[in-house]
């Protein structure tokens, strides 16, 4: 039945068949490890709060329109709440408005939506996270010399934020460090490897490389190991088995990790609260952490990195 008058406190009239509240989660992707970890956290919460969820996202973070279609289809399923990681918040406004009109609570995650509609946002401050990477890089190379960036995407929000967060921090705080090159590997491990090797070839005096997501960081690690430049400082982003291994065996100096499991968990939790008419916290900062050989086994870190 058409449910524009559906009450957001009535758990029984949702899209789910077995009476549980249903939360549709539209993410930015589904293939990446990162998103799988978000999904894992979401599922954890779903189990805990006894709700049903679906989790989907477009194949690449450029597919703004595909994400709109997913959101559209999600709306048509009459969910009790929506979790949404906007690839482009402007483009999504009208659909979010529709959700709001239909009294479907929306929880934003991963990055914010420039609108009042989301009741809560569970996200990482990507610029701050990348700035932390810049500080660590500066510290490790003695605040001078050449560094480069292998970024995962030229256009997506996280790609831009991490690149710019890093670059701006260096420019502002470390005048003796130059960023000699920024290449994009699309998050493809192989392409990132070849890109990082080309950078090292072009800039023999290079002291460090920042890889802006898992694929990029692993690419840099591969490159360093293929050409035996163990002297380079490699700072990565996200986690995953290969980054953890690389940090343990010294190929990577350290990495920034977000808390994807936490993001997923908090998103669902906030959604459940909203469904139940409870007050939700507007900004849920799930945090980010720098981890390296020394703190990788700490409890706080071990909780947020994922294999």
């Amino acid at each position: 039945a058409c449910s524009s008058d559906q009450s957001n406190t009535d758990n029984d009239s949702g899209g789910s068949k077995d009476g549980k509240p249903y939360i549709a989660i539209i993410s930015k992707g589904f293939q990446h490890q990162f998103w799988q970890a978000v999904k894992q956290g979401a599922e954890q919460a779903a189990k805990e709060f006894d709700v049903e969820i679906t989790f989907e996202g477009p194949e690449s973070e450029s597919q703004v329109d595909k994400q709109m279609e997913m959101l559209r289809a999600a709306l048509d399923k009459n969910p009790d709440a929506i979790g949404f990681a906007a690839l482009d918040s402007q483009a999504a406004l009208s659909l979010l408005q529709e959700a709001s009109d239909n009294k479907i609570p929306v929880i934003a995650f991963d990055s914010g939506v420039e609108s009042e509609i989301p009741l809560a946002t569970a996200a990482t401050d990507s610029r701050a996270a990348a700035a932390l990477a810049a500080d660590k890089m500066a510290e490790l190379i003695g605040e001078e010399g050449e560094v480069a960036v292998v970024a995962h995407d030229q256009v997506s929000q996280t790609g831009i934020d991490r690149r710019d967060g890093f670059v701006n921090q260096i420019k502002e705080k470390y005048p003796n460090i130059t960023i000699v090159d920024i290449q994009y590997g699309g998050g493809d491990h192989l392409k990132s490897t070849d890109a990082a090797k080309a950078i090292m070839q072009a800039y023999p005096n290079l002291k460090g490389i920042f890889g802006t997501n898992e694929g990029s960081a692993i690419g840099v690690v591969n490159a360093v190991s293929e050409v035996n430049r163990n002297d380079l400082v490699v700072i990565g982003f996200d986690s995953g088995k290969q980054q953890i291994d690389a940090i343990k065996n010294g190929l990577m100096t350290g990495a920034i990790t977000q808390n994807p499991v936490g993001i997923g968990y908090e998103t669902v939790k906030a959604a459940v609260d909203a469904i139940n008419g409870k007050e939700v916290q507007k900004n849920i900062d799930t945090g980010f952490f720098y981890y390296d050989k020394d703190n990788i086994d700490d409890e706080e870190i071990a909780a947020v990195i994922y294999e």
């Binding site: 279609e69 289809a73 048509d76 406004l93 256009v155 831009i160």
Partner: protein, 332 residues
């Protein structure tokens, strides 16, 4: 007169021909209906006004691209560039309207012109420089992708200050019924495409070139010129697709588009147009595009895991084309 002429075999081939065409569209249409019935039974959320509009809306851009691709494929060509050229057109429209401050209508025309130009360039590469369509448009795909990023500065261009712009796709010119214009544009372009293909000289030469290019050339037809025209027309469709896309997203997204060419081609082929050229219909393409989006939407509504969705779409493409193959065999 004497009865010296060759004997006419006494059956009316023309009727058979019409029938076979009808069967083709009937088959594709039949699959579409079956899919719709299936999903309607499987989920109560599927067959609802909002969702049907959603499906049509999600068909509109790929559908418009597929209409243009139909022309190219009937000439026995292929166009791998439609996805990124579409993006380039949105970006150009964005630049015209937001950076250069031109009126919306000029920006729209500029976007369409961009598509036509890209089409013409591909057409020239193919016709004059004899570069195979696959390669010429593969190169064009890359060039358009790069240029879209260069021109936009690798950042989306927003039309938020130009309220009327988004109305192009999301407004509704029919009062009372809330059908977004994007859908009307799609169907309108289908009608125009059908007329061009079936009633004009352009369509005639589209079929002739696809059927036997050399014979067409030997008949004194300036095949090169017509190929360029046909690619330009397809480019116009691509441009319109780009504008609808931009209006729908209220922004020109410079990184979007790659991969759309394959969806457009799949829609055309599912609709019964032959990749070997000479045969095809606009109606078929419309149905093909609808099949693709009903399938995607239905699987989503059923919450089929995404990786399985991909598998199912692949299998359906195989199946749809196979029924078409069988039908053609039987018709022979």
């Amino acid at each position: 007169m004497e009865t010296q002429g060759p004997q006419l075999i006494p059956n009316d081939k023309k009727k058979i021909h019409l029938k076979s065409n009808a069967i083709q569209q009937f088959l594709a249409f039949g699959s579409l209906i079956i899919l719709i019935i299936f999903f309607s039974i499987a989920s109560p959320n599927f067959f609802q006004f909002n969702n049907i509009i959603g499906i049509l809306l999600s068909t509109s851009v790929i559908g418009i691209l597929a209409l243009g691709a139909t022309f190219i494929i009937i000439t026995s060509g292929i166009d791998l560039s439609v996805g990124t050229v579409m993006t380039l057109c949105s970006v150009m429209t964005g630049v015209f309207i937001t950076s250069m401050g031109l009126p919306i209508i000029v920006g729209v025309l500029g976007g369409i012109l961009t598509g036509a130009t890209a089409g013409a360039i591909a057409g020239i590469a193919i016709a004059k420089f004899r570069i195979p369509p696959f390669i010429a448009t593969l190169a064009m795909m890359m060039i358009a992708k790069g240029l879209a990023l260069v021109i936009s500065g690798a950042a989306p261009i927003y039309f938020t200050s130009y309220e009327a712009f988004t109305e192009i796709a999301m407004g509704s010119i029919i009062p009372g019924i809330e059908i977004p214009n994007a859908i009307l544009i799609f169907f309108g372009m289908a009608v125009i495409g059908g007329i061009i293909l079936n009633k004009t000289i352009i369509g005639r030469f589209t079929f002739a070139i696809g059927s036997n290019e050399e014979a067409t050339r030997l008949s004194g037809v300036n095949v090169n010129k017509w190929k360029i025209i046909i690619y330009s027309i397809a480019g116009i469709f691509t441009g319109i697709g780009g504008i609808v896309m931009a209006a729908r997203l209220n922004s020109a997204q410079p990184a979007l588009g790659q991969g759309y060419e394959l969806e457009a081609i799949a829609a055309v082929v599912i609709g019964g147009t032959s990749l070997s050229g000479g045969k095809g219909t606009i109606l078929g393409t419309v149905i093909g595009a609808l099949i693709m989006s009903v399938l995607t939407n239905g699987l989503r509504i059923l919450s089929v895991p995404q990786e399985w969705q991909t598998v199912v779409v692949g299998a359906v493409i195989l199946f749809a084309v196979y029924t078409d193959v069988i039908r053609n065999k039987k018709a022979n």
